[in-house]
């Protein structure tokens, strides 16, 4: 197990490093001079020259890269060019919001999706099964941001039940929860359908196993067989998929945060693009890369824990 973790960790570190270098190269392609872009058109010659020296923009590219990587290692992501606030602090302020959104969406999706899948499998072939199937596929095909838009239209604009924008007042959990409801629901919707289908399929597969026949022949009620024995085994692949999907939720969260003007990593990145605030954009992307890698790493570990064959030992 330990050697497996080590191998995965090495591979992930190489990947993160590769991604950061690719990002650096990408930013080199930005049209125009970095100092002029960052300082604005009204900056004086001497200011630009000073900035170039300070940021090593006059040095060779490989030295710039070395400085860039060194700064990241020290946790220094640069300074916001508009407000002179350290980028790392900006990100730390909004990161919890994104993580809360992602976690609550997954939680909501499991809460609805898994029982729906079991229910569907238990009533296989019935009209209810067909209906749940259609419902699941419809939920999967609705893009996150569109689900967000429609939820916003219905619950915030038309009915006026929930707030349409923002993340809620700081220090007021109830208000924050009200602001979380629509974004989390929109992000969870696709996952509900996805998990329902996955659970249905794994439950149906498990129902054909020998131990189910044994349990039934012992005279156990069907409900006990289904919920106590079958569900437990069929959840393994579901948990694994959630692990992998968690990192990908970040992508969906970006659009949802923008739709609901919810402060978060995605919204921060989008705003940085709009205001051409490149240090913030760069910092946001680096943190996203790290989060994504971390989520994949945890998913890998949970896979190998659930299914030891993965370790290849």
């Amino acid at each position: 197990m330990f050697s497996y973790i080590l191998r995965r960790a090495t591979l992930i570190i190489i990947t993160v490093l590769g991604a950061i270098i690719l990002l650096f190269i990408l930013f080199q392609f930005m049209p125009g001079d970095m100092a002029t872009i960052l300082l604005g058109p009204r900056a004086s010659e001497s200011l630009i020259e000073d900035y170039r020296q300070r940021m090593w923009l006059d040095r060779p590219v490989y030295m710039q890269l070395a400085r860039f990587l060194g700064n990241i290692l020290r946790g220094d992501l640069g300074v916001d060019v508009l407000n002179y606030i350290p980028v790392s602090r900006l990100i730390m302020n909004v990161l919890p919001n994104t993580i809360i959104l992602a976690v609550s969406s997954i939680f909501l999706a499991c809460l609805i999706g898994i029982p729906l899948g079991v229910f569907s499998a238990a009533n296989r072939g019935s009209p209810i099964d067909l209906l749940t199937g259609m419902l699941s596929i419809s939920m999967i095909t609705i893009p996150h941001f569109l689900a967000g838009l429609l939820a916003l239209l219905l619950f915030a604009v038309h009915l006026g039940w929930l707030p349409a924008m923002g993340g809620g007042a700081a220090g007021e959990p109830l208000d924050q929860l009200r602001h979380l409801a629509l974004p989390a629901f929109s992000l969870a919707l696709g996952w509900v359908g996805y998990l329902a289908r996955l659970t249905r399929a794994t439950v149906l597969e498990e129902l054909g196993e020998d131990y189910v026949r044994t349990a039934r022949s012992k005279g156990l009620p069907e409900k006990v067989v289904l919920y106590k024995h079958v569900l437990r085994c069929s959840l393994i692949p579901v948990i694994a998929v959630i692990g992998v999907g968690f990192g990908n939720l970040m992508g969906g969260a970006v659009l949802i945060e923008i739709v609901f003007h919810r402060p978060g990593l995605g919204y921060l990145i989008y705003n940085a693009i709009q205001t051409r605030n490149f240090p913030v954009l760069q910092g946001g992307l680096i943190v996203t890369i790290f989060l994504y890698a971390l989520a994949n790493f945890i998913a890998d570990l949970s896979y190998s824990y659930i299914d030891p064959r993965v370790r290849g030992e």
Partner: protein, 346 residues
């Protein structure tokens, strides 16, 4: 190293039956782990042609017949039929847009801004008085004109890199594995908005950027199949006969690994349509005033209080398109991938 990477794919066999239509949610997680059993089981396999090349005629007709019956199966299943009809309608709308649309989608009409449905404007108008119905019809063109080239770009590049990765030495293979993982280390939408922010929105570059995000997924899919197929006798035989690596890769291996890629690509069309709409919604996709569904939704979002009909009609168009392509893609997968059909039956 290679063995362990392969074994990594085994656990995913559980998730392969779910090869989610919305791959952005689970990009690669399914597809890359789908070792595509169909490469061996697929009727399109050219193995038979290799063995007895002197009788190609009857075999080909048999094969075509077999394939035709499979397509019939797709059309006759209720889900497949529904998907097929929706897709057909979208394609017809895209082709005959100028004949069907009642107005010019770019025609600004200040006198009729943000109007609701009426006999004159079936779906109402937007903030510039443009007819939404016409814009939605023309939007189907944009959706297909961006999504399909993006898929084609991803398939071609992914196929080349994947087959080279799978056929080459372990060192080259490791390089490609790291490359694919690196490319996947940013969520697709974040990668796309960053690149588009740096180089600026463009209708021509958009499919390439969107296609790049699929390259690692297709690459890994082809790589996994190549690793399996290259151990077959006919590959060894053609190597013994002095065939060059290039001819072995593209003449003997490629035809046997391409089927699962095509299925995956078909299932990715709705993902790309959604992707384009999302980017255009952010104002980073197709540059305005081109009528894209994402733009229509953006206009609707910005005027959501005064004119909620814009979001509703634009949303219905997008949902129907993704639903149609998803239903068709999934039916294709179930019919052409017997193993998945048996196990999944989703």
């Amino acid at each position: 190293m290679a063995d362990f990477k392969d074994s990594q794919k085994n656990p995913g066999s559980n998730s392969q039956k779910t090869s989610g239509p919305n791959a952005q949610k689970n990009p690669g997680s399914n597809s890359q782990k789908t070792p595509g059993p169909s490469s061996q089981k697929n009727p399109g396999s050219s193995e038979t042609g290799e063995v007895k090349p002197e009788q190609p005629e009857p075999r080909r007709s048999l094969k075509t017949k077999f394939k035709a019956s499979k397509f019939k199966k797709v059309i006759t299943s209720p889900m497949g039929f529904l998907g097929f009809i929706i897709v057909l309608i979208i394609i017809l709308l895209a082709i005959f847009a100028p004949l069907i649309a009642p107005y010019d989608p770019l025609e600004i009409n200040i006198a009729h801004m943000l109007e609701g449905s009426s006999s004159r404007f079936i779906m109402g108008t937007d903030n510039l008085g443009r007819d939404i119905f016409s814009r939605i019809i023309y939007g189907s063109r944009i959706a297909l004109m961006v999504a399909i080239p993006a898929i084609i770009f991803g398939v071609i590049v992914g196929m080349f890199l994947g087959i080279i990765s799978g056929y080459s030495t372990e060192r080259v293979d490791s390089f490609f594995i790291v490359l694919f993982d690196t490319m996947r280390s940013l969520p697709a939408i974040i990668f796309a908005i960053t690149v588009l922010a740096i180089i600026g929105p463009s209708m021509y570059i958009l499919p390439i950027i969107m296609g790049i995000t699929r390259v690692p997924i297709y690459g890994r899919l082809i790589r996994a199949s190549t690793l399996r197929v290259k151990e077959n006798e006919y590959v060894t035989a053609s190597r013994a006969l002095g065939g060059s690596s290039l001819s072995i890769m593209f003449k003997h291996i490629l035809p046997n690994v391409i089927a699962p890629l095509f299925i995956q690509a078909a299932m990715d069309i709705p993902v790309m349509i959604t992707f384009e709409a999302g980017l255009s919604f952010l104002g980073l996709g197709v540059p305005p005033p081109t009528p894209s569904w994402g733009h229509i939704l953006r206009t609707g979002y910005l005027n959501v209080r005064q004119a909620p009909h814009i979001v509703i009609y634009g949303g219905i168009a997008l949902i129907l398109a993704t639903l149609g392509f998803t239903l068709l893609g999934e039916t294709l997968r179930d019919v052409f991938d017997p193993k998945l059909q048996r196990r999944g039956n989703l």
